[in-house]
Amino acid sequence: MELATKDLLRLATIGSVDDGKSTLIGRLLVDTRQLFDDQLDAVVAASEKRGIGDLDLSFVTDGLRAEREQGITIDVAYRYATTPTRKFIIADCPGHVQYTRNMATGASTADLALAVIDVASGLKEQTRRHFCIAALLGVRSFVVAVNKMDTVEWSELAFQRVVDQIETVSRELGFTSTIVIPVSALFGDNVVIPSVNSPWYGGPTVLEALEASEAGSWEVAQGGRLPIQWVLRQLGGGRTYAGMVSGESFSVGEKVTLLPANVETTIRAINFGGESRLEAVVGLAADLDLADETDAGRGDMIASAPLPRVTKELEATICWFGERPLSVNGQRLRLKHTTKSTPVRVQSITGVIDISSLTINDASSLSTNEIGLATLLTAEPLVVDDYREDRVTGSFVLIDEVTNVTVAAGMVGHASFL
């Protein structure tokens, strides 16, 4: 048995309700034989019980009772697939506006978005919203399945109409890779198996596009970053600073700066799980030993040049999920950025994004599921990069101090398309 390790691609489905996201993922998993026999049997049984035919593929991911009763996706389902070349973590996201927070949850860790659009209805407002949120969250690679092609008798013209709409969005939002594929998730055309119904289409199937995608290499423009999570006391004295590396890797002997204290020092040693290493690559949960005695702890950051900036004032893009609107003298909020939590105040709301025109309109508050720009003031200094430059040091969440619920996703700076 081949035990070779594989690279990992994280993808999220996006698109409007009822365009067929869950059905497409169900089809993808069934046709690549990722489902066990008993799981497939259970889906068949559940479909029969609800009188909706032999096999409702959406039940593969819509696993909650309420979802099956209503035939909708409420929250993200995570599914896993392995092909000879790749391992996939699939976040099947809900399409309803009211569950935008859950869609953002799924898309925030995605390297690629798999968009699903019903060919008959074309690009809806909600799909546009999802494209916009995914792009704000830094997704640049898109595979777009133009679904339900069987309902338009595989009309190339109908397909081309949607392609034109997507090309416009892709240009506006600055996608780096967009592959548009005519599919029928229900019947499996062009999902895993090339369709005989689309002789006019010469591109890849959905699976081929996912396997070939080069998404995942985040464009790094900044230095190494290690937000300190925890201080480890070493045997025989001394301490190391544990955290996950982002940006660029660190090496033993490298010059680094401890922030926000702004103390320059050198990496004396790198450990992982109690064993020493010469290098700490991006994504490694390492711990670093620094050459100089420093007073560092959770919430501080070890960084290599070019250094991040230290600030108490953030110009940020905010996706607001709270039930009550976000406003200047509103709820008491806490901000969590990397490993640091601090009280935060909204100094001003600069505007709200109009999803359809991608323009910024004046606003004094943000309602549920609106995206806007705001200036925030934190009680303690943060060590930040723009989100465009580092997904870890450029992201934060806002937490309601009373309920402890996460009420916003925040990104330092604003997207290039705004």
């Binding site: 990992l8 066990f36 999570q229 969440v397």
Partner: protein, 306 residues
Amino acid sequence: MTTTLHTPHATDHLDVLESHALFILREVVAECERPVLLFSGGKDSAVLLHLAAKAFAPQQLPFPVLHIDTGQNFTEVLEFRDRAAKAAGARLIVAKVQDSIDQGKVADPGPLGSRNRLQTVTLLDAITAHSFDAAFGGARRDEDKARAKERVLSFRDAFGQWDPRQQRPELWQLYQGKVNPGEHVRAFPLSDWTELDVWQYIGREKMDLPSIYFAHERDVVLRDGMWLAVGEFVEPRPGEDVVTQMVRFRTVGDANCTGAVVSAATTIETIIDEVAIANVSERGATRGDDKFSETAMEDRKREGYF
């Protein structure tokens, strides 16, 4: 400004999963006051304990481990539990379902009845008694369709309940485990691991496991399509033939609701071969507790189950 597209990343999938798990373990310990690690002695919780030791090396574990003892365990698993806790230098707390029965909090299902669902009461009582505000579990999203929906940090209200319709958004890796008194979070560092990942990792790390995971000769009876081990908790019923077979266990639960699979795999390498080509999921093949209804796991999770 320079743009480097090919900075070295941890691209080996086991390395990525491992580092992510270490990150989650440290984050929860830093954010919560009194964490605990739920330890059943099964392979997933063994991996979890192994990862916890790595996350805090060379220090001791900054939390105790808790076993909910149904009193219907495989002897080999209890031996492993004690051995593994000792090796990790962890303080082991055992909460017994029998105590919940004696206190009249749950009904006694009788010597051969399943105590699976009763564990929830014992677990929630232990969490309250010790004021734990975070509990690490070895649950994986690939195990079950309800688990597939759960956050890495999953909020539990003062009654220990999970509300799948009101989960907190969980953006990026900004896990936040802040709760009010009486509430807690469950944290699942193995969320994105599959059964195959777990076995590959066990092989790579050369980990110790209970012997019942490896093929061995055992007296078994076929019941409801599952091979059950004949012993203290399973007696053959009229009409059931006791046969001696080479079997192993794919999951470890109570002796009376965990089925064995026929297997000749006596090493981790041969187990990985079997897992890679299996037609039936591990819970489907071996767990009677999931067969009650379409949403058996969701229903139990809502009540506060693992």
